[in-house]
């Protein structure tokens, strides 16, 4: 499984990088980076990180649960282990950042550090002592410059993430659709969406004119189907006409007998060689009109 090898390689490389960049003074030593002097930066970034992770997890958790890709048993087990780790682990990182961070103030007020070369008091960042070792001097970073660098880093991360996602999508990875939440669509939305579906079907019916009635009925159904899908009704490739109808009825988009009648007409037109005449076309048009009148009734009462 090349995916697992790549994942293991990335984790190993990150671990090696962390060891290489680890401060020699100890794990809990305050950072020497441009932002290491300000505890508020550590606290703020940790809080923002944790809140961001919780928000993202809340959004994608449903997709993870809904994802039912066909995987070999080994990869399926790996997925079952990795999914919760990824979701929970990212949030834990933010909490650990605050817990493990040793703030400069605490370091100054605490007992003298174990490493004798580490002075308990730091010189002012803006006034470096002449002749002082450059290693112990406060870094010559200013806050605006640090913020600028941080924003630059975020930009780079976003660009890389977008590039990776695009690449994966080109390779066939699909992010599963978020399941529809029940009760989130208002009745007015329903009415507006159904109206667009009906208009689309009418347009398709009129486009065929007085030509082939079979094509007219199919085009009418297809227009309505497209409009339903465009209006947010979940649509899967494995749906049969009955599946779509059931979902539309459950969503309140196709109440009444007209939609089932139109679906039945479509089935006969699409899958049988029965002769189709203008009566079928008229029946499809009547079904559409019935749907439209139902919609107007709903709009009038709402």
């Amino acid at each position: 499984m090349p995916g697992a090898v790549v994942a293991a390689g990335v984790v190993g490389a990150l671990a090696a990088a962390a060891l290489a960049l680890r401060p020699t003074e100890g794990l809990l030593h305050p950072g020497k980076g441009p932002l290491g002097q300000w505890g508020i930066v550590a606290i703020g970034s940790s809080v923002v990180w944790t809140a961001g992770v919780m928000a993202v997890v809340g959004r994608i958790r449903l997709r993870f649960n809904d994802y039912r890709a066909v995987l070999p048993p080994g990869e399926e087990r790996l997925r079952e282990i990795a999914a919760p780790l990824l979701l929970v682990g990212a949030g834990v990182v933010g909490v650990l950042t605050v817990v493990l961070h040793r703030f400069s103030r605490g370091a100054r007020s605490a007992a003298p550090p174990i490493v004798p070369t580490q002075a308990p008091t730091q010189p002012e960042p803006s006034k470096p002592q002449p002749g002082d070792g450059s290693r112990d001097a406060a870094p010559p970073w200013s806050l605006p410059l640090s913020v600028l660098l941080g924003l630059l880093a975020v930009l780079v991360v976003v660009v890389v993430a977008v590039a990776v996602v695009r690449r994966l999508r080109r390779l066939g990875l699909r992010v599963p659709q978020r399941p529809a939440l029940a009760g989130t669509v208002t009745e007015e939305d329903d009415a507006r969406l159904l109206l667009s579906a009906v208009r689309s079907g009418r347009r398709a019916l009129s486009d065929t004119g007085d030509g082939d009635p079979r094509a007219a009925v199919i085009a009418c159904y297809a227009g309505m189907e497209d409009a339903l899908a465009a209006s947010g009704l979940p649509r899967h490739a494995s749906d049969s006409p009955a599946d779509l109808l059931t979902r539309a009825v459950e969503a309140g988009l196709a109440s009444g007998p007209a939609a089932p009648r139109l679906t039945a007409l479509f089935r006969e037109a699409r899958y049988s060689s029965h002769p189709m005449d203008t009566s079928h076309r008229d029946a499809a048009a009547d079904a559409l009109e019935e749907i439209a009148s139902l919609l107007q009734t709903r709009e009038g009462t709402s």
């Binding site: 039912r68 066909v70 199919i218 189907e225 049969s240 009955a242 089935r267 006969e268 049988s272 060689s273």
Partner: protein, 333 residues
């Protein structure tokens, strides 16, 4: 009995009504199992054999007997046991002292509807005795081939393989069954209704009326043969069967016979619904009953309690149905 003097001229709508009446009549005896009854009826219409698999006591044998009674078919039953011999199924030649010749005594397989009760309680050798009968409607004993009755239908009941004292059915024999039906437990309300019905009729079983005969079944099957099916739907059926061969959790996919069974059952479902054309819902609804018993899962999945039904449901949910408009190839041809 509703014997039609011109059975070949019946329409799909008429057959749908007649078969529906038979199902309603059987619903008096087999309470709360309309889906299972409908599936067995589809097997009757499609000319296939039905495997009814579930735990003991769920009404499998009652279902088979009810069909025989209501359809007016000649009915035999074999209780499969570990010591049953192949000749007990097919029949055997015996020496006639008066004529001095070997006379063939037909076994219970020479009937219209054969109930093979608890078929997996007998070793594979005896199970295999049914192979030729099921596949070719004939029996060969001592080099002589004898045709079976027409219609000939095997309704076999089986307990789950994990159950005590059972032998797993060979893949070759499983493939001979057109569909597998699972009974399942009744809901609390249905079970209450079943108990109430038993008390009210003051008899162990409901007495069913005969609503059809062998010639009706043959006429119904003739109507099924006239049901049309669009090329796009055939491609859909082929895609479903092919997906069972490529699925990572399946070691042995469905055979071409599985595709034939699926299409024939879909045509039968169309007739039962009063149509003379197949729609995607027919194929989609029957993919699991027609194909799940023909595939074998990878061994490691057994411990994860993944069933072939689960995998087939997943396949049905992933394979696209025909597009709303005809494909360019279909339109141009």
């Amino acid at each position: 009995m509703t014997t039609d003097p011109t059975p070949r001229l019946r329409t799909a709508e008429q057959v749908g009504e007649q078969a529906g009446a038979v199902l309603r009549e059987m619903g008096r005896a087999v309470v709360g199992k309309p889906d299972a009854l409908e599936l067995v009826m589809l097997g009757v219409l499609a000319g296939g054999h039905v495997l009814v698999e579930d735990l003991p006591g769920l009404g499998k044998t009652l279902l088979a007997r009810s069909f025989a009674t209501t359809l007016g078919l000649d009915f035999r039953r074999i209780q499969f046991t570990p010591d049953l011999l192949p000749s007990d199924v097919t029949g055997t030649p015996l020496y006639d002292q008066r004529t001095g010749e070997m006379v063939f005594h037909p076994g219970p397989v020479f009937t219209n509807l054969l109930l093979a009760d608890e078929i997996n309680r007998t070793p594979p050798k005896t199970q295999a005795a049914l192979l030729e009968a099921m596949a070719e409607s004939q029996v060969t004993v001592d080099g002589e081939t004898r045709p079976l009755a027409d219609p000939f239908l095997v309704v076999a009941t089986a307990n789950p393989v994990e159950h005590e004292g059972t032998y797993s059915l060979p893949e070759a024999q499983l493939d001979r069954f057109q569909l597998r039906v699972r009974m399942g437990y009744l809901t609390a309300r249905e079970e209450l209704a079943m108990l109430r019905a038993r008390i009210d009729r003051a008899a162990p079983e409901a007495v069913l009326d005969r609503l059809a005969g062998p010639e009706d079944v043959l006429a119904w099957r003739a109507v099924v043969e006239r049901v049309e099916i669009d090329d796009d739907l055939l491609e859909y059926a082929v895609a479903l069967v092919a997906a069972t061969r490529d699925h990572p959790q399946i070691s042995i996919g469905a055979s071409p016979r599985g595709g034939l069974a699926l299409v024939q059952l879909a045509r039968a479902r169309a007739v039962l619904d009063g149509r003379d054309y197949v729609v995607p819902e027919d194929i989609k609804a029957l993919a699991v009953p027609a194909l799940a018993h023909r595939v074998s899962l990878r061994p490691e999945l057994w411990v994860r309690e993944v069933s072939t039904d689960d995998v087939l449901h997943e396949i049905v949910g992933s394979i696209g149905t025909p597009t709303t408009r005809r494909t360019a190839a279909a339109v141009s041809s």
